[in-house]
Chain length 633, copies 3
């Protein structure tokens, strides 16, 4: 696995560049991402390009043998461009323009801005497309960051109408699909349809789902325009986009189809602080991150672009954007690096080379301090680099377990949670965590993935079954676990005619007749586990495999297929993992708290995420905090 | 008591209607509410009416002997109407238009929309006013739902100015009434007055109170326009409007004067989750609702329209709109139904016949599932229907206790809470609950009600004493309890000249010289009870009847009148109920937790709201959860 | 110390004025503030002045020997003025106008409104400038109240651009200073710059800091315009402005330079409720206020205007504006009054004479009830008046300790907290409290103050070191304590070249290489104290004076200078106070909880803020709750 860093030559005096390049190479880095926010330096005035500095920056890096990932600067249009077409900015749900002064101040649907993007990408690709230093392009930066997928601008409304017309043909078909007879919401023409905002109470969930699909489509088509221009001018180079963590606002699997390498930006400590983890977990893993956060995303993004992936931004110290920003435990930066390798990353690039002493991210730690001294992460990078050299290139081992992940499922649950603690990402993450706690390697895959080679397949939930997906599941011979709410909606966000689980009924003969959500703090007992958050009433000829204390069915199974009719707590997840692994003949390992195991095709990596030393039975030894044991297979 | 359901023929293929009607009748239903959201089907294009489907729907129901309640569709104007006059929507407090895409997207003050409403109601009433199936009309649907009473539109501002001019005559009179000399808020003309929004800090409370009175008046006059048109075209039919639970944004007593029957929409589980109840109560009554929620509203709405009332929407299973949406305990739907009968309802109508598999309310349980199978509630409806047939028509027994309820009081406290835990609805509800816990039947009445026949009269609080109310209280010979803040404001939201309790001083010689609010978690001890939330300093020649441990007076009494100078906790309320009942010679019963008792003129109904079986001393037997015991008197 | 009150003759019938004046004088009051909200009565219509009532009001007060503080009415422009130029109102951060209907509905940058203010102030000053009753002028009222310092109006944007042009000269200089190359935020002209609002994510902190500086400058220049006019027409009179509590939105030291006397509005109970104090403290001091709240502000505002200061509004009972509004413990009004004298106030003026029975503040207690009877505070005022007469005029004793307070520091931390529990005001207040708990008198001073005479100097934090400040500290021989984040930013909100503590390095040889913030509830142990909230990694040749259990340095010292590299908890603050006092030879006293001591030049005042009697060792006796012991020195 290669190492790299993110670098902003435009932030520093030109005389520092050569020394920077020399030190990067010496630290073990071979990749440098540049350029993705530099529009105002590339084109300081409309139509006047300043290539000199960028030519020299790339050449300087190249001179030290560094390979360059060049970003398109479309996440940061300059002020002159915004002033030229003020309606290019997104409009928030309250109707306010989202203005200049930070980044991502654009609407994905604005045709004028899209034309400007095509222009700047074209001139960049023409100039550097065949430069020997350039090995990869990054389109834009973190699509959707700062809640920027949705826009309620006129441009978005107009594009949405066109998208609907293409999808439905007639307003009557749209009315029928959405059930607009309800509350007299029927339209007589597509021109009557608005984005679902500022409605008196919640808009039709079908309206929302189509708006989310449309918005995701706009992101993908925005990206595709850049990809096509780059491919035309820069043959043989890879194209990537850097995705984010715990982010589902657009369909990454769709964008992944258009790029060569999926990359993501890994901030384990910030993500722990900002997401749903309990206060207890936040204290236990304050300086390490929850042991499954990085791995979850590695396995998710490996499933996005033909199994090619990397880490574009790796947290090297405290960040600036979470409510609280602790420093990593010594050793964690090396651990995170090696973990990416264990999961098969092509590279890990640290964000960033040197801490900027100005502007929004000045509190974001880097490999160098602002005074150019090495920060705490630097020696860990050297350590990781040496280990990586020793173990050689790694490829992720084929995982026995597939976890099916769907962005549309995240939208569907989010639009209609029905119980406020039913969170899609949490359900998938908890399932993933239960698997990893028993030493299993996991692939997180799109519904369209080929599932035939897996030994266990889990669908935590999939409210809307894509065309053919149920048949694909039905063709599997391995244990299959299907979670609550699966098959509960049609593509038009309707309850299917024969009720949930809809298309899954041929696989397991049951009907969900009613669902309920339970408030936090309320539970009803079962054998060892408890019913919390969500319960479905099931009619079936099958006797339940598991029931609650009152005798109500919780898990149903037939042949190799199981259906879980409640929100599964950790105890139930552990039990189901145990049963399926046994049925599949997949061996399990009992890992102590904080210990995780990942296999490449050649090595087994064991990580200690706990803040104390832990004795690890499968190794027969104690691992220090942040330690990583690597054993050749 | 009749049973009925809400039905949306426009949601279903016409060929299903006859079978639906047959099954309704067979299930014991005799009433069907239809039409209240069907504007886009009645008038699919401006001026083009489509009556055929509605004619056939009504005739089909009629053919099975079902009686029809026809709703006016004014809660859901179609898109073409909104596009014709975009300024018809309400404007929220931040100045944003509340647009199309759900329901209730109109401003009560928009003259153009009012004209459209008169037109559609007139054509409906003309067509169906004398149809033999039609027994009742419902105006609009749930006025005020989704926070729609207040609007800050130009239409509302203009109407408000007119309302003020009519009320005050001159701007000088308004300035004097409101005290506008304070902070130089004086107006030179009514044209200078705006609604009280977007002010830098809180607006004058007198300004707010008049805006709330005006807004309530707009609701009532909007309703009255429909009532007058219907009366002119549909003689002999009743008119109702379906009110909501725990909702005080307009004066329901005023609207009640214009209609024949007050109905309300009863969702005990949703209300428990969404309102102020403690986490402990929310867990204890998760599947039943607090034992006083339904009864409170039955007794409140019985006091709204000449004692005629019913339940227009009865929760039959989990709903879709609360944070958490649990299923009722088996038996609760029957219990809620019988409880309505015990309180004297003319009918209970379930919401709705069949669960819609599309749009906003697809997760709202119904009598039938979306696949037309019976849902859990259906057999309970049959059970209730059989019991109702057996016991015959019920009329609420004359209650010994009157609880005076005032919408204006809710506004007054809400505008100026002075302590954030002083909630009007909670105070009244807690008082009601203390009475019901001792087996007392209660009438919740408007201040203008005749109180002369009651044996105990309680005014939980009444900051503004209506003209003549104090005299009416003074004429009573029975125990009277008057709560804190009563008489503390004039009609112009001023402190009365001789201080609180103002007009009540002739009844009880005391002066409230100072009030204070106490933060949650702070209390000061008294004999058995505690002073929390609110305390008044009282000057009086009277020795207090009850004092706190430090000797400060808490309750004062003279002759038959008591004044309570603190927020009464449950212990104090129980004590006061005990004393007053004893004085009045009204017998009390000790009811175990979760048990409630209600008498009709012919029967005594005992309900078990607990989730466990409970031994009930007055019955000498144990009631199962959700059980209802009915004993002839 | 004089006593006074705030009085609104315009609220009351003219026939009450003479009796009011008589009673004021008899109660021991000699000062009356009037006029500050009376614009609509002074100028009821554009250009038509009504002086009669005000002439008579002043003369009536004067007739009883009362001295008058006359307020300019610019906080409450009348409706006719707002209607004349609707764009004079401030625009909130979401872009909404902040309209008429309460007070402070103006933008400090609106030139048209400024002209109107100059006009009204000029006519007032011309008319009353030499009236023998007038001893002081108050400009406007509580600048910034209700979040009114910042405005995002066109007027503000335009003035901001001018301010930037004056500060930076060229847009290139601004781009360089702010680091606008980051995210392509570079401007080509000052016309391209907007206020930092409605940005997609946070704006550049340098952008925010300059916007805050600009906004503060606008407040100061708005005030200065009034001061200059008054000085020209009213020689020999003092000018004041009444500041607020815990309020840092503009630089009070700057405004303080233009006025003669700094006054503030003291509401100890409301401030306790509304600020960061723990639930436990809020319960313990519910009726007294935290024992350092009033003192903190006395000492702060004594440092604002050449040591001349007073209390313009003293809480006399429950207020109307906090979440909860309890009544003071009997005696507290006298205690607060005497405490102001102990700290050297020139006067204490109660807010207000008589409780207004109308409009927004009708629930605000006063010296008289609305019915003109005396409220609870009145006898306490007489008591305090008698004691003050007995002890004679008081001047604050020279404090041994200086605490350096910076408004810019508050903005800097607020713009970039980095950890959400790092609150500037809390840090300074906790430090102050630790000093006062050991009986120390404290001066809270501006960074520009002369520090040479102090025996201990504490800088809780000062991220941006003003020009020359480090040299001034370096010249001190006494113990100096410098808190975390000091010297961590340049004037352009950049990390200094050699890293923090920047200019302080000559005083103490260390470098802060990294900082981290720790989530609430997380701590790491040290000797007796704990590391919470904030920790800095320090490189230094010095051995730490104090370290945590893991050996990481926490406090560094060299010669007389200490640097604290963590958020200091109460235990650590106590320890540092102990050490510094010992080094300085300043005697300490152990004060029991709730007891505070303050010395004037002639007396020692001991206050019991506890709600129970407390034995006070240094007095050798027990003080009752709310008691004040005064001993001649
Ligand atoms: Zn080209
Ligand atoms: Zn807005
Ligand atoms: Zn002049």
């Amino acid at each position: 696995m290669k190492l790299g860093c993110c670098y902003y030559p435009e932030h520093w005096p030109e005389e520092m560049w050569a020394e920077d390049a020399r030190r990067m190479a010496k630290m073990g880095l071979s990749l440098v991402r540049i350029g993705e926010f530099a529009w105002s330096r590339i084109e300081p005035e409309p139509g006047r390009y300043d290539w000199g500095w960028l030519d020299r920056a790339i050449d300087t890096l190249h001179a030290d043998g560094l390979q360059v990932i060049l970003g398109t600067p479309t996440a940061t249009p300059p002020k002159w461009l915004v002033d030229k077409m003020p309606d290019m900015v997104a409009i928030d749900e309250q109707g306010h323009p989202r203005g200049f002064g930070s980044r991502r101040h654009y609407c994905f649907s604005h045709e004028g801005y899209r034309a400007e993007c095509r222009r700047i990408v074209a001139v960049l690709a023409e100039r550097y497309g065949n430069h020997p230093a350039i090995v990869m392009w990054q389109t834009d930066n973190e699509y959707g960051c700062h809640d920027t997928v949705l826009s309620f601008s006129d441009a978005a409304a107009s594009a949405f109408r066109g998208w609907l017309a293409a999808r439905y043909g007639t307003p009557q078909a749209l009315n029928e699909a959405w059930g607009n007879v309800f509350w007299s919401m029927e339209y007589r023409s597509f021109a009557e349809v608005d984005p679902p905002h500022l409605t008196v109470t919640e808009a039709n969930p079908a309206h929302w789902l189509d708006y989310r699909r449309f918005a995701s489509h706009q992101v993908a088509s925005f990206n595709r325009e850049q990809v096509e221009i780059i491919r035309a001018h820069s043959q043989g180079r890879d194209i990537t986009h850097n995705f984010m963590g715990f982010f589902t606002e657009f369909d990454h699997h769709d964008v992944g189809r258009d790029i060569d390498v999926a990359t993501w930006d890994s901030y384990p400590l910030g993500f722990l602080e900002q997401f749903w983890f309990s206060a207890e977990e936040k204290r236990a893993y304050l300086r390490q991150g929850h042991p499954d956060i990085a791995a979850f995303h590695h396995d998710l993004y490996r499933g996005c672009a033909n199994a090619r992936w990397g880490v574009m931004e790796q947290q090297p110290g405290p960040v600036n954007w979470a409510r609280f920003n602790p420093a990593p435990l010594p050793g964690m930066v090396a651990l995170w690096t090696l973990e990416a390798a264990a999961h098969g990353a092509e590279f890990t690039s640290y964000f960033r080379w040197r801490q900027a002493p100005f502007a929004q991210e000045q509190m974001h730690a880097s490999l160098l301090r602002p005074d150019s001294s090495e920060a705490e992460a630097a020696p860990e990078v050297r350590t990781a680099s040496a280990i990586l050299a020793e173990i050689g290139p790694q490829q992720a081992a084929r995982a026995p377990v597939a976890l099916v992940f769907s962005y549309e499922a995240a939208w569907t649950i989010g639009i209609q949670p029905q119980g406020q603690s039913f969170r899609y990402l949490e359900l998938v993450f908890e399932t993933y965590s239960a698997l990893r706690a028993r030493g299993l390697d996991v692939d997180i895959v799109a519904p369209r993935a080929d599932l035939s080679a897996y030994r266990v397949v889990i669908v935590p939930t999939l409210p809307i079954m894509p065309e053919g997906f149920a048949d694909k599941l039905g063709a599997l011979g391995c244990p299959v676990l299907i979670g609550p709410r699966s098959g509960s909606r049609t593509a038009s966000f309707r309850i299917p005619e024969g009720l949930a689980p809809g298309d899954l009924k041929p696989l397991i003969p049951l009907t969900v007749t009613r669902v309920e959500s339970l408030r936090d703090g309320f539970s009803e007992p079962a054998e060892g586990f408890a019913v919390t958050r969500w319960r479905e009433d099931v009619e079936s000829e099958l006797a339940p495999e598991l029931a609650d204390t009152a005798g109500r069915g919780v898990v149903y199974s037939q042949n190799n297929v199981r259906y879980c009719a409640i929100w599964p707590d950790r105890t139930l997840l552990a039990l189901l993992v145990e049963r399926m692994a046994q049925e599949a003949g997949v061996p399990l390992i009992d890992l102590p708290d904080g210990i995780r195991l990942r296999r490449s095709t050649s090595h087994a990596f064991t990580f200690n995420y706990a803040k104390e030393p832990v004795f690890v039975p499968h190794l027969g030894k104690t691992l220090a905090p942040a330690a990583c044991d690597i054993a050749a297979l």
